[in-house]
């Protein structure tokens, strides 16, 4: 209890995820909870990793990408080359996201254009409908 480890439920409550998700992440080698008998105990390290995982998801990384990033992260200061690559991967991802955002913006503008048209049609239609009454 006082050893700083959390049960699966405590983790779920703390991070607002389901037990299934945590087991899934363990199966995918994103988390490595220790075992006390049958039960999983999530260490401080697991919490740090989960935090990064959830942040990664918000960034739109896939779990596989996240795993790779975490692995590099773990190798840590061992080799700067790796860190450099991590940086490059993240920057690539940033570029992708910005492209995606730009496309989305185009689509939004496009759709807005369509809506202006639709509006005209509705207005004129309602007008002719009123006239017919």
């Amino acid at each position: 209890m006082t050893d700083g480890t959390l049960t699966i439920r405590e983790m779920c409550d703390a991070f607002d995820v389901t037990p299934r998700t945590l087991r899934f992440y363990e199966a995918k080698e994103l988390l490595f909870p220790i075992r006390e008998g049958q039960k999983r105990l999530f260490t401080k390290r697991d919490r740090a990793r989960l935090k990064l995982i959830l942040r990664g998801k918000r960034f739109g990384f896939s779990l596989e990408e996240i795993r790779q990033l975490l692995d590099l992260y773990d190798m840590g200061d061992q080799q700067a080359t790796q860190l450099q690559r991590t940086y490059e991967v993240a920057q690539q991802r940033l570029q992708d996201m910005e492209e995606q955002r730009d496309e989305l913006n185009e689509a939004i503008d496009d759709l807005k254009e369509q809506l202006k048209w639709g509006e005209k049609i509705i207005v004129s239609f309602n007008a002719s409908k009123k006239a017919a009454e």
Copy 2:
């Protein structure tokens, strides 16, 4: 040939989709090619619909949503109420897209922030590496 219909391959070339996709869309009742014997012949109407389908996809509509929109579109000027609903659906979608864009922007800013950090680490790391040589 001169009747304005296209074979499946001509359609594929014209719109850059696979035969599978066109058959899939037919199965999902998005397209209604006529049959000459066994073969599908895509009419002008099918081309117009496919164009709208692909545009809809760019907007991020699901095929199901697109189908409903096309159906309403087909009912056409029959009832303005429907048109109104189409309009509302599209507007809802627009709102969703803008929210999505905003989230994406947040994530981008966030990631940029992280990258600034990462940069610092790399720089200082390379510095200490250089110093060690």
